[in-house]
């Protein structure tokens, strides 16, 4: 069932059997579920001229939404990366009351329908809400501003970084850290020299996924965003606007921009991650 292929002996990595089968299944499923459906975006666009395409994607209002979506998603992903490392660390290394409860909560943003998440966050952070009220006193508005968009994006991105790092930290033997400590290294030094390089690839993965997910997020963000053109409109909303006018060509044009951007972003991160892995393993 898993024949060793002569061809694959050339490289040392391919001693392990199963290349053909696993590659075959991977590519088949990927094509059926992701690639072929995505190609229909191109098919739909085949009736559009390049000039039209360009006009739609460089429209002033649309460009303004790229800016909002990208900057908010980037901030949210950075916050998620920082707190993701922190959370993964305390959840794997420390014992404290409610640790299990906190650990169990991490995936909940996924299970909550995005609209519900959006509505609750908006309520919570509006100037009448529990948290928004506190910020309102110092003159900061959260709901219906870009800050609100960032908050919603942080919410939906929480699980990515934590859950990417956690398994790596769990596998990482605390004995290394203890050994380093005995040898007199400072705690922060241990973290940056011993732990950080190990979790960096996973952090990058989590960061990239959270970033990508935040750019595309629609359901929760529209409630908290305010949606004022040029100020708090996100790109997925513009796509919805085009669809509302039954303009499939314009909607798919902008969709294509988002797909290509996401691909480039994720490709870059994967490349970086592979490079780091190589360095880490010498």
């Amino acid at each position: 069932m898993f024949p060793l292929k002569k061809r694959s002996r050339k490289r040392q990595n391919n001693i392990i059997p199963g290349f053909r089968l696993s590659m075959g299944i991977t590519v088949t499923m990927l094509s059926l579920i992701v690639l072929i459906p995505l190609c229909s975006v191109f098919l739909t666009l085949s009736g559009t001229t390049f000039a039209d395409f360009w006009r739609v994607i460089t429209d002033k209002q649309t460009v303004a939404t790229y800016r909002v979506s990208l900057s908010c998603a980037a901030i949210a992903a950075v916050v998620n990366a920082v707190f993701g490392i922190l959370l993964a660390w305390i959840l794997t290394r420390y014992e404290f009351p409610f640790r299990r409860v906190l650990d169990g909560l991490i995936e909940l943003p996924f299970a909550l329908p995005t609209a519900v998440a959006g509505i609750s966050l908006t309520t919570l952070y509006s100037d009448k809400g529990w948290i928004g009220r506190l910020f309102d006193r110092i003159g900061v508005k959260i709901s219906y501003t870009t800050v609100g968009i960032v908050i919603a994006m942080i919410f939906i991105g929480i699980p990515f970084v934590v859950r990417s790092i956690q398994p790596v930290l769990e596998k990482l033997n605390p004995q290394y850290e203890e050994a380093a400590l005995v040898l007199g290294a400072s705690r922060s030094r241990i973290f940056f020299k011993v732990v950080f390089p190990e979790i960096l690839p996973a952090t990058l993965t989590g960061f990239g996924l959270a970033f990508a997910r935040c750019i595309g997020e629609y359901g929760s963000v529209v409630f908290i965003a305010g949606n004022i053109p040029y100020k708090t409109q996100i790109t997925p909303l513009i796509i919805m606007n085009k669809l509302e006018q039954f303009n499939y060509a314009a909607a798919t044009s902008i969709a294509l921009v988002m797909i290509v951007f996401a691909f480039v972003l994720l490709f870059g991160i994967n490349l970086l991650q592979a490079r780091i892995n190589k360095i880490a393993r010498g």
Binding site: D59, S126, K128, N227, Q245
Partner: protein, 358 residues
Amino acid sequence: MKHIFSFRKTLALAIALATIAGTLSGCAGNNSPAASSVNSSASAASSAKPVAISNVSYDPTRELYEQYNKLFQEYWEKEKGQKVEITQSHGGSGKQARSVLEGNEADVVTLALEGDVDELRKGGLIEDGWVNEFPKNSAPYTSTIVFLVRKGNPKNLKDWDDLVKPGVEVITPDPKSSGGARWNFLAAWAYADKKFGGDEAKDQEFLKSLYANVTVLDSGARGATTTFVENGQGDVLLAWENEAFLSQKEHPDDFEIITPSLSILAQPSVAVVDANAKKHGTEEVSKAYLEYLYSDDAQRLEGKNYYRPSNPDILKEFGDTFNLNIEMVNIDDDFGGWEKAAGKFFADGAIFDQIYKK
């Protein structure tokens, strides 16, 4: 090896769970194909066999149609001795129209905008001239745009002029993403047009200052209501009359409805989706389903659900609920029809986009 063994237990547990989930949903799974095949198997609709139709509608009509469907089922059984099963679907009007266009096989549509139904005609699903298939432009019930303000009307907002004053915060959905919100824009425009005697440059200025007061431009009508009602944003919500009544019903002590001096007649349109009804063999019952919306009983039901009945005599019965003295423009006479209005105001780069341009 021990831990592998116990992980196997976990796996067994997971499989058991999945099986339970599967069995539970088995009922649902069985239902859905069976139910959808009823549509096709009913093609030879004899009077004895039950018939199934689906009504794709927009958001706040659920209660209305839940009651109306019962009424119609009784009526149809009495008339024809045939049982009729009706499946409802609700969502944003434009989105619902799109789903029918994309293959959701509705027998009838009951949507918020004539324009949404007309897209189905353009897509070849509905025959030309559908607007005149039923009385009153195929709008059995109507509504209008009103102001929902906080109890006591603290900012004393009486008419459209008050909304452009500095310091007034207005909540209304985005007409680009919410078809229903286009009526809000058009009502304001009609008022300005009357005030400035048809000077469109001034109309546009008026709308610009109105939308400058809009602090949150939600993507849908319901979102805007939540923003205003639950989150306490803004001083006034521009809303469909029936939706304003629904909000008031939920919070009787918190809000008031103000009718401006001039508003617009919002006409939700109904139509038989000819291609689908033909395919399912449900043309007769679908047509009767919509026709019966004009019967006296149904008209009263619509009035009770805060829609204005199109039958003037029955509308009068609801004189306590609705302000019947409001002056109303309508889309055909004052804006030259839906298509023209959509092109002039809401297309990309048209007037609505211009008022937001810096």
